[in-house]
């Protein structure tokens, strides 16, 4: 997030696109609802009538996978009617002309036709956005989990720059992160192209710096591969040794049959986790880990805040902290690592090697955490980025993009679009919530379908139906609901039985390699 949760309070307007905040980030949603109560305008852009809609002034119920067309449509109106923030754009942004050229191809009539909404709504939303400031744009996986995910993200940034909603309080582009420490895993360099603190592995100076710090030579100077390519590499034998730490890939990745085939093909597979799950059964070696509350460390939240996590008990049996496991393995290969606790790792290695976190030390985050960038121990942390329109790389560059449809769209045999997400009472593949009593609140997967389709197909609420895609088929209860529009099926991947990932399409954004969980073609029948 460029901005912070505490800034929700003073926002005058929210544009929530592809975020089911009340269920996926419930506490954030409470602050948003408080602001709306105090007069802020809420605009929701979502194919479903999800719970936020109740609080919204305007709801654009766009068709799944049409976000770029919608956002370009808004920008068309802003530019055509001269409603954008000219001063901000002139002072702080580059490539406005290219943006203009692209969005001029999306007059409201065309955008509305793609999105299956009324053109007047696009005009009204554009005018509303132009009339209030500051506005926060919030999004979640509804934006990223598309083959055009990166383009979706760029469009949200284009819009906020055009409106001048950047570099000030209660504005910005704010992706809410799904898992507690996705932000941290990125920050720590668990990515194939960057070291901790986003220092590029292809930069020789960065490589040298880390080689020196870690006391080695000969590290790789080329980008590694991303997870989907690792999985395929198991089949093609490009990858022979694979180590999975804490991810239940066999349930969480699209097209379970394919994923399981990949895992089966692994020559040597290590799985490190706290529970046996659908993935551990493919392992050659399983390593037992310390869980949350069994080790001291830090998580970094969506708002870039580095928070302390504390231990209250020992891990069960001889399970061990994860950092200990990696350190011991290094020892078995002749490397002696110095740090011997979360605090030593952070204070003596991470904060020293990554300038953005250099000012963060455990002694400073006993209570509230600090938000990076925080370069020195005197620095108070950064509440919002790009202050006064100063972007990290000089100016904010508009990256104009064209709309592209999902990789798989409805047809005669598979006339429904399947979209996926989360439910309030469960989390991911339920390895945690399923063992904390949450099953009592939502006990099995359902296929959420519209009242219209249910009537047309003679399906009653609670009745078992088949949902089938080109990749698989599941048998689940129908949940007939007003939330879902006709032509759509909505499901989750919380349960092994009826998991949406038997159906989802392993088509990926070419750059980010994020899978298109939000759209594939299915059929529904009794």
């Amino acid at each position: 997030m460029t901005n912070s949760f505490s800034e929700f309070r003073n926002a005058k307007c929210f544009l929530c696109i592809g975020t089911n905040m009340t269920e996926a980030h419930p506490v954030a949603a409470t602050f948003l609802k408080n602001a709306v109560r105090n007069g802020a305008t809420l605009i929701v852009v979502d194919p479903r009538k999800q719970p936020l809609v109740k609080h919204a002034k305007l709801h654009a119920q766009i068709k799944v996978g049409t976000d770029v067309a919608f956002l370009n449509g808004l920008m068309y109106v802003l530019i055509k009617e001269d409603l954008y923030d000219k001063e901000f754009v002139e002072k702080n942004c580059l490539d406005f002309e290219a943006l203009k050229e692209t969005v001029m191809k999306y007059p409201p009539e065309r955008a509305a036709d793609i999105c299956k909404i009324k053109p007047e709504l696009i005009v009204e939303i554009a005018k509303t956005l132009a009339s209030v400031k500051p506005a926060m744009l919030c999004y979640t996986l509804g934006i990223t989990e598309h083959t055009c995910g990166k383009n979706n993200v760029m469009s949200t940034a284009n819009l906020q720059m055009l409106l001048g909603n950047m570099g000030m309080e209660s504005a910005g582009v704010n992706p809410l992160r799904g898992q507690n420490n996705v932000q941290g895993a990125c920050d720590m360099g668990a990515l194939p192209n960057v070291y901790p603190g986003y220092q590029k592995v292809i930069d020789p100076a960065a490589k040298e710096k880390f080689e020196k710090a870690w006391g080695v030579t000969g590290m790789s100077d080329k980008n590694g591969i991303m997870m989907p390519d690792m999985m395929d590499g198991l089949v093609s034998k490009k990858i022979k040794g694979f180590w999975i730490f804490g991810e239940n890939l066999a349930n969480s990745e699209p097209d379970i049959s394919h994923v399981e085939h990949c895992l089966e093909s692994a020559e040597f597979l290590v799985v490190q986790d706290i529970f046996p799950n659908e993935t551990t059964k493919f392992a050659d070696v399983i390593l037992p880990s310390a869980a949350w509350s069994e080790d001291n460390g830090t998580f970094t939240s969506s708002e870039r805040r580095i928070n302390r996590v504390r231990s209250v008990k020992n891990p069960p049996g001889i399970a061990k902290p994860n950092w200990w496991i990696f350190k011991e393995l290094a020892k078995h290969m002749g490397h002696n690592w110095p740090s011997n606790s979360g605090q030593e790792l952070w204070d003596n290695e991470i904060s020293v090697l990554a300038p953005a976190y250099s000012g963060v030390k455990y002694s400073r985050i006993e209570n509230d955490g600090l938000q990076w960038p925080c370069p020195t121990v005197e620095h108070p942390g950064t509440k919002f980025l790009h202050k006064d329109g100063k972007f990290s790389h000089g100016k904010g560059v508009f990256k104009s993009v064209e709309w592209t449809p999902p990789a798989e769209v409805e047809d005669k045999d598979f006339p429904f679009v399947l979209s996926t997400g989360r439910r309030l009472y469960q989390y991911h593949t339920r390895t945690q919530t399923g063992r904390a009593g949450m099953d009592a609140l939502y006990k099995e997967e359902t296929a959420d379908i519209s009242v219209a389709d249910a009537e047309r197909l003679g399906i009653k609420h609670g009745e078992k139906v088949y949902v089938e895609s080109r990749r698989g088929k599941v048998h689940v209860s129908a949940r007939v609901t007003e939330e879902v529009p006709a032509g759509m099926v909505w499901m989750t991947f919380h349960y092994r039985e009826g998991n949406a990932n038997w159906l989802t399409n392993p088509a990926f954004d070419p750059e980010t390699k994020t899978a298109e969980y939000k759209a594939c073609a299915v059929n529904v029948y009794k």
Binding site: P192, F242, W243, P288, A436
Partner: protein
């Protein structure tokens, strides 16, 4: 500005109420309906005080401080009036503290203790309201409800879930869920904000019932293991068991608020399914192994693969739920020991 409370000069801020100024100065005045999160309700009248120049007793929660104000909180008149209010509250319910979950952390008990009320002077006839145990994680014991209204205000104005309200009339007034449904059948999302703000033992969480008393537990601050909001939790720990979780008031970003997962989803770590020892697969079956054997095996396999097919023939995915220090260590292992950048994580789900 300065005001005087019980003959003592205390500092007060513009706009503060007398109650807020007193509490900030460490002077206790019984109060049950006021809570800083939901603001002034002016309902319970437990906080009455005398203020020079104002006629009669004033509710300190609703009077704004003025320069040189002279306040008395401990005169016999004030204490008697406060006693009457608290006595009535005790009389109108079944406040038999022995097995009450709130015992030791109860604002009504604190008020009674401060005022020296041993037992209520009037014993009303038995008010037999059923316990509502229909909700998965929360139960409601209306016999202990003092109708302060904090939970109603919190559900509606803090978390804006709009479930709780007052229903029925007069003597029968009580808190209701939606249009008088059982809690478990209502639209309640079990965020537990009402539990956290209830001053007494009327809305209580089930998981801790009978397991620990407030003073037996250690309080440890930590961060929620679920979504990326990063809510700050207070773990209530007895021996090595987390018996309860509350939100840390005044903490960024959540200001004490939690959702159902953060508040009630903590006990997966105690599941009997946990992996407790390294396991090595032999002829399709897993058997237990020591750390030395398991790590030795991985080291030799990875070494062999790297020697034969090069470092880029190994790859790893890190965990987006585990601590930063774990992800750091894993990428360090892949980069500095295996010499590959084939390291990633589930950023995209």
């Amino acid at each position: 500005m300065n005001i005087t409370i019980n003959g003592k000069q205390v500092e007060a801020r513009e706009g503060q109420t007398v109650l807020q100024a007193a509490l900030a100065a460490g002077i206790y005045i019984p109060h049950l309906c006021y809570h800083e999160k939901v603001g002034v309700a002016g309902k319970c009248r437990a906080c009455v005080v005398e203020i020079e120049g104002m006629r009669g007793l004033q509710t300190s929660c609703s009077v704004i401080v003025k320069e040189d104000m002279n306040v008395t909180t401990n005169s016999p008149t004030v204490l008697n009036a406060q006693r009457l209010v608290v006595d009535l509250m005790l009389s109108s319910g079944t406040h038999d503290c022995l097995a009450c979950e709130q015992n030791g952390n109860c604002e009504l008990q604190d008020a009674a203790y401060y005022l020296g009320i041993e037992r209520p002077s009037v014993q009303y006839g038995e008010i037999n309201r059923e316990f509502d145990i229909s909700s998965e994680f929360i139960y409601v014991e209306r016999n202990k409800c003092i109708s302060c209204g904090r939970c109603v205000a919190a559900c509606n104005n803090v978390v804006v879930n709009e479930v709780l309200d007052f229903g029925h009339r007069g003597h029968h007034t009580e808190i209701v869920f939606d249009a008088d449904k059982k809690m478990g059948e209502s639209t309640c999302v079990q965020c537990g904000e009402c539990v956290q703000i209830c001053p007494v033992g009327a809305i209580v969480e089930k998981k801790n019932k009978g397991r620990s008393r407030y003073w037996e537990t250690q309080k440890v601050r930590t961060t929620c293991p679920y979504c990326g909001v990063g809510c700050q939790l207070e773990l209530h720990v007895k021996d090595d068991q987390i018996v309860k979780v509350t939100g840390v008031e005044d903490a960024e970003p959540n200001k004490g608020r939690l959702c159902v997962k953060g508040r009630f989803g903590y006990d997966f770590i105690y599941s009997k399914d946990r992996l407790t020892t390294p396991l090595v697969k032999e002829k399709g079956q897993f058997r237990e192994a020591s750390w030395d054997e398991a790590l030795g095996l991985i080291a030799s396999k990875f070494k062999a693969i790297i020697e034969k097919d090069g470092p880029d023939a190994v790859a790893g995915v890190s965990c987006a739920r585990s601590i930063n220090e774990d992800s750091y260590s894993m990428q360090k292992l892949f980069r500095s020991v295996f010499k590959t950048n084939n390291i990633d994580h589930c950023a995209r789900t």
